[in-house]
Symmetry: C2
Subunit: 395 residues, 2 copies
């Protein structure tokens, strides 16, 4: 009667969503401030002032028919030029508007890129832990989803494991740094090693292998940490970006795909991306926010609260006896569960009103993810609960 | 190296887009007002006042984090309730928020619905002429795209041809009324006949056949013409809607899918729709415009200019000797080409600075589509050119 696969995807709610719903009910029972919900990756800081200013000005002064009208499928030409200029200024690339395809956010960027590249029998590799929807998007193209575990000590890339996973069927790899859920930023050395292996494998198999960089958290890094720009390390690179986190606009659905102008036959790749967007039912990205984002190039929401939250949590949890992976970016802290089964640990944490996401569905059993994109007050108020939870495990 | 199918979809520009680009160049050569571009279906009237009012008020007064934050994947609950209440008030249905899934416009509504329903070996039927992307969306699910010609005299449904096209593999039919490109509104009798045939075939084959109603032009009808609400005629109905035309917001990408609460196992269908949205990379519809649309339920842009344009064109072209299909809705006039090959006729029309879309790609060779969503001034100024074109063919 209908697609069993789609029914399954639509019925199996994610563990994150389940925890969040549990939290809503629990808050209604015992009070908002008594439940410490660390489940969702929803930005907790407002958009920078330029967003409101731009939107109000556009609504007040622009021709409505143009403002709310269709743009071309690949996005407004002026916006694409502005993004190309911004990327070039930041990273020394030589992109033009012709390399940029504006999308309805990062999920669209990824699903369109994969659809454009995938042929029968292809495989796509990602590094675990990973964002669970990667599996959905890859499998939707009919391709095989392959995961390679990161090094459990620092969650950097395990080169040997990666090298062993690349086969003649590998069409591309998805790299996500800063990483959701670990918060880890892959080092420049790690990037160089991945690119070297890819170059060798391309030569060995005689066909391109694409590096798809999913980087919605690019601007959310703390201290002196640098996120290498992958186009400068590897020619066959596609960058999938979203303004959801940098401009705190997750609901407005706006992002892009940038195809390196050094990729093999990059104009063909770009055309296939246009075709994939069409096939998936995307017409254009929201027109008002295309113009807003054009005016806000280079702006970032004030993300200093995320660093503050990270510092408080990391220090306290380490003191209490937890083993934490130090996050240099994004707004996630990855913590080893205090028993083998992270699901059971997450259940136990609920007794202390702590909502922590077990990382099994991220491909990292034995860990939980703490989303610290919350108020600093919530972080501070939750510390006694974290301490009590540790004590319950004899720490 | 990449998907040949996506490359082809992204490379073959539509004839409409080609004509539009030709028009842009030609206007630069001889002047904006000398070229009569009837190629695009872009609304030419501004959004109703409530759109700007709602957007400005929301930006000014709402919490930014909530306003621009993720909504649930199926859309804001309050918006879904408001739409259900509006539909129920208009059409006497008994929908609730649980039947509504908010989308990034009509193309997304269709591609998600088809993806949710399609199983291996399925066929979907539509009536020619049809919007060319239907083929793309159906074939993207791996299903067979079947077309049934309308009656060439009035472009109403040819029941016998339709009945003959339904097979045991038919999973659904797509019905688009008011129709793009013919402007025809299917009569109530035509709808009743289609539904009767579907009921019989469901019984014969022992499985549901779904009626997918694509109705972005529902509010664009002229005079006393009524557009029957299909859920009231057939239980297994899904309505795909977009605010692009009714609120003149095509670039903002907002619409919905409504699943009839009388459809067989409708909650499962809804769940499969949620799954399909996920698989295609849709996260949620743009959040600001979800709230805008919530405040503008029942509002329609001032579409009286479309009727005025239709009346002027229909009267004049009939006088000049063209055979026109009388459009009761949308903003398209369907005209028989004055030679067998509509492509050649469209080329000839260019000599008179008239840009008319040959309807071959809509599945109706021998006709051209005139989009009259332009200024009345353009309509009036174009009449001598239409007359001269007719004379060139000895009319």
């Amino acid at each position: 009667m209908l697609s069993e696969k789609m029914l399954e995807l639509g019925t199996n709610r994610s563990v994150i969503r389940d925890l969040f719903e549990f939290g809503r009910k629990r808050k209604a029972e015992i009070g908002e401030d008594k439940v410490f919900d660390f489940s969702l990756g929803n930005p907790s800081v407002p958009a920078p002032a330029c967003v409101k200013e731009a939107a109000m000005d556009l609504l007040e002064n622009e021709d409505e028919i143009l403002l709310h009208g269709y743009t071309s499928a690949q996005g407004d030409a002026g916006l694409r030029e502005a993004i190309a200029a911004y990327i070039n200024g930041q990273h020394g690339t030589t992109l033009t508007a012709d390399s940029l395809y504006i999308t309805v956010g990062a999920a669209a960027s990824l699903s369109i890129s994969l659809k454009a590249l995938a042929e029968e029998g292809d495989e796509f590799i990602t590094f675990a832990p990973f964002f669970p929807e990667y599996r959905v998007f890859v499998e939707n193209t009919g391709s095989k989803f392959v995961t390679v575990d990161c090094d459990r000590r620092d969650f950097q890339i395990d080169e040997k494991a990666f090298e062993a996973a690349v086969t003649e069927h590998t069409k591309g790899i998805i790299l996500n740094s800063p990483n959701n859920p670990s918060g880890v930023v892959i080092t420049e050395e790690g990037i160089q090693n991945v690119c070297r292996i890819l170059e060798e494998k391309q030569r060995e198999y005689g066909h391109p292998i694409f590096l798809i960089s999913d980087e919605p958290y690019r601007e959310l890094v703390y201290g002196d940490v640098k996120v290498p720009y992958l186009m400068n390390y590897y020619d066959n690179t596609l960058v999938c970006y979203s303004y959801s986190k940098s401009l705190s606009l997750p609901g407005e659905r706006i992002g892009y795909i940038a195809v390196s102008d050094r990729a093999v036959e990059w104009r063909k790749i770009y055309a296939a991306i246009c075709g994939a967007g069409r096939a998936l039912g995307y017409v254009c990205a929201p027109s008002l926010f295309q113009q807003v984002v054009k005016r806000c190039q280079g702006q970032v929401a004030d993300v200093s609260v995320y660093k503050k939250n990270r510092d408080i949590l990391l220090k306290a949890l380490t003191e209490y006896g937890y083993h934490c992976v130090k996050p240099d970016g994004a707004f996630y802290l990855f913590v080893e569960a205090l028993e083998e089964d992270a699901g059971a640990f997450s259940e136990r944490a609920k007794e202390f009103e702590l909502l922590l996401v077990p990382a099994d569905s991220f491909g990292a059993p034995g860990f939980v993810r703490i989303s610290y994109c919350v108020s600093t007050e919530q972080i501070e108020n939750s510390l006694p609960a974290f301490r009590a939870l540790a004590r319950a495990y004899g720490k």
